[in-house]
């Protein structure tokens, strides 16, 4: 039952909420705005909110000087590759845990979650050593495997919580009608599971895209994704605000858009189904 709310109260809360929202969003807004200014206008005092010469040259310079597209491509390959690999391994596991649960299912799930708690820095040297041994340092393949492994528990958990919501009676009904295991998976389960799998993919791409411990420590030049590319801006040379802004805007734009679509899944995925 909706409570009757006076218009005045609604106006007040609306104003407050918008003010808070804009304040929180401000650093992002300011970065995007600055990326369209010239370097001189980017550091103008007082700051320019409008009335500057709108320019796209920063984007061109960033691409030209540092080959932005290569880092973008690395990010896409690493985030996409680790997600696809993770899904391929997690779907069968989550499926079997959701539909053929055993006494140990719960323990296995919790144990998987516990591997996610391993602090990365604690195993930094062993992993680097293994990377050197297997010639994986600064390769996209190596990063794909590592990011897949750190996110695999989240993928399994998310898929499990989605799969568990598919009613088992439907499977029994299909079996009564003479559907084999193959038909069962292909025609009954898959259509029902697709929304859950899609949300899982979305969240995982975001997590992999933004991962900034292994990507910074295990790459140098060839496989460096956008996280490492942006980190190279930490020692400024001359006027660089507008270029930093352009590079940052390009690095976060795709994920910002994806993130807005995945708000609900975010809660479910990052709390391992404990809050829905």
């Amino acid at each position: 039952m909706a409570r009757a709310v006076t218009t005045r109260r609604k106006i007040v809360t609306t104003v407050v909420a918008w003010a808070v929202g804009l304040l929180i969003f401000f650093p992002i807004y300011w970065t995007i705005l600055t990326s369209f200014k010239t370097e001189a206008q980017a550091v103008a005092n007082p700051p320019l909110f409008f009335g500057f010469d709108f320019t796209l040259e920063n984007y061109a310079i960033v691409q030209e000087r540092s080959d932005y597209m290569r880092y973008l491509w690395n990010s896409v390959i690493i985030a996409g590759g680790s997600t696809i690999l993770g899904i391929l391994i997690a779907v069968p596991a989550a499926w079997s845990m959701a539909f053929v649960p055993s006494k140990r299912t719960k323990d296995i799930l919790l144990w998987m979650l516990s591997t996610k708690m391993l602090p990365a820095v604690g195993v930094l040297y062993p992993i680097s050593l293994l990377f050197v041994q297997f010639d994986l340092l600064d390769t996209r393949g190596g990063l794909i495997v590592v990011l897949m492994l750190i996110n695999l528990p989240i993928i399994v958990w998310m898929l499990y919580t989605y799969f568990r919501e598919i009613p088992g009676e439907i499977l029994e009904a299909a079996r009564m009608d003479g559907a084999g295991l193959r038909a069962e998976i292909l025609y009954v389960l898959t259509p029902m599971a697709i929304p859950g799998i899609a949300s899982t993919i979305l969240l995982n791409v975001i997590l992999a895209w933004n991962e900034a411990f292994w990507t910074l420590n295990l790459t140098a030049v060839n496989a460096a994704p956008l996280t490492a590319f942006i980190a190279s801006y930490s020692s400024p040379e001359g006027l660089f605000y507008a270029k930093l802004s352009a590079a940052s805007t390009m690095a976060i734009a795709p994920i910002l858009v994806m993130g807005w679509f995945s708000q609900k899944q975010l809660v479910r995925g990052l709390t391992f189904g404990a809050v829905k």
Partner: protein, 292 residues
């Protein structure tokens, strides 16, 4: 009803995930443990091939005995604690605010959640340069506008600055989870309390807050696990100087900068134990949820 056949099929389907995670957990963990009992300084010629000297618990004692250990514990506690307090309190307030009927609710939600999707290196650099720079940063303009002297945030108030940056990143997470929890609150209960004349504050403390208890616990536990290992935010802003060297960063420096693998590994074991203490509590809550 699961048959014997489907049981073994299920086991087979689980195998790849289980084996991979088992390897991912055990192999590096055992290596870290092994190195932590060895003297291993590659720069001074120690190498695998020639064999490493067993030094017992010396690395563990030295890691704790070093002059940078306690300051790093303090920095870790300050940063993790500060971020938790800020994100939980502001998260509750924001969740309540966003739960109210307002115009453009969807857009405000998007604005509030956006920082979570910004990659750590970007948010750290944007704050460092665009916001906190003592000459050109937005905050310095604001300070000057009010006639105050701009602050060199990342050197004079470094820990506070890191807390601010990290809180900005994690506030959306706390808000989103608490908002989800608030929305499941039975509004009739609140209405009844309102009709009985319960004032706003006691309605908050006796109805809303208890209802949020579990969600708050989950926010705290999950954030603690992630906050204990924040790295990029420190890496690109202060590089661990000005009192912002956390335990994670100290271990990173031992391993990467001073190339003392034995010492760094002992530190790594401490970090793993610390994370596991937090993890146990989280697992209990999540595990209970599974039994439903």
């Amino acid at each position: 009803m699961a048959t014997q056949h489907s049981r073994s099929a299920a086991r087979l389907m689980m195998a790849p995930a289980v084996i991979l995670l088992l390897g991912w957990m055990l192999v590096p963990l055992l290596m870290t443990l092994y190195f932590s009992f060895k003297q291993y300084l590659p720069m001074r010629g120690d190498s695998f091939e020639r064999g490493l000297e067993w030094v017992g618990f010396e690395n563990y004692v030295r890691f704790i005995g070093s002059s940078s250990f306690w300051p790093s514990v303090q920095a870790t506690l300050l940063i993790v604690g500060g971020v938790l307090v800020i994100t939980v309190i502001l998260g509750i307030l924001l969740a309540i605010l966003l739960d109210q009927p307002i115009w453009g609710q969807g857009i405000v939600r998007i604005l509030v959640i956006a920082p979570f999707f910004v990659m750590p290196t970007v948010s750290a650099l944007v704050w460092k340069n665009m916001m906190m720079d003592p000459v050109n940063g937005m905050l310095s303009y604001v300070w000057r506008f009010f006639g105050a002297t701009p602050v060199s945030w990342l050197s004079d108030a470094s820990v506070e600055s890191i807390i601010l940056i990290v809180s900005w990143q994690w506030l959306p997470f706390a808000t989103l989870i608490l908002l989800t929890a608030i929305q499941s609150l039975d509004s009739e209960q609140l209405e009844a309390a309102e009709m009985d004349g319960a004032p706003v504050l006691s309605r908050f403390f006796y109805i809303v807050l208890p209802h949020l208890g579990r969600a708050i616990t989950i926010v705290i536990l999950i954030q603690t696990i992630f906050l204990l290992s924040i790295f990029a935010e420190i890496f690109v802003t202060t590089g661990g100087s000005f009192g912002t060297r956390t335990l994670t960063y100290l271990i990173f420096q031992r391993v990467v900068d001073s190339q003392n693998i034995g010492l760094g590994s002992a530190g790594g074991v401490y970090a793993i134990i610390l994370a596991n203490i937090v993890a146990i509590f989280l697992m209990r809550i999540v595990g209970k949820n599974l039994d439903r």
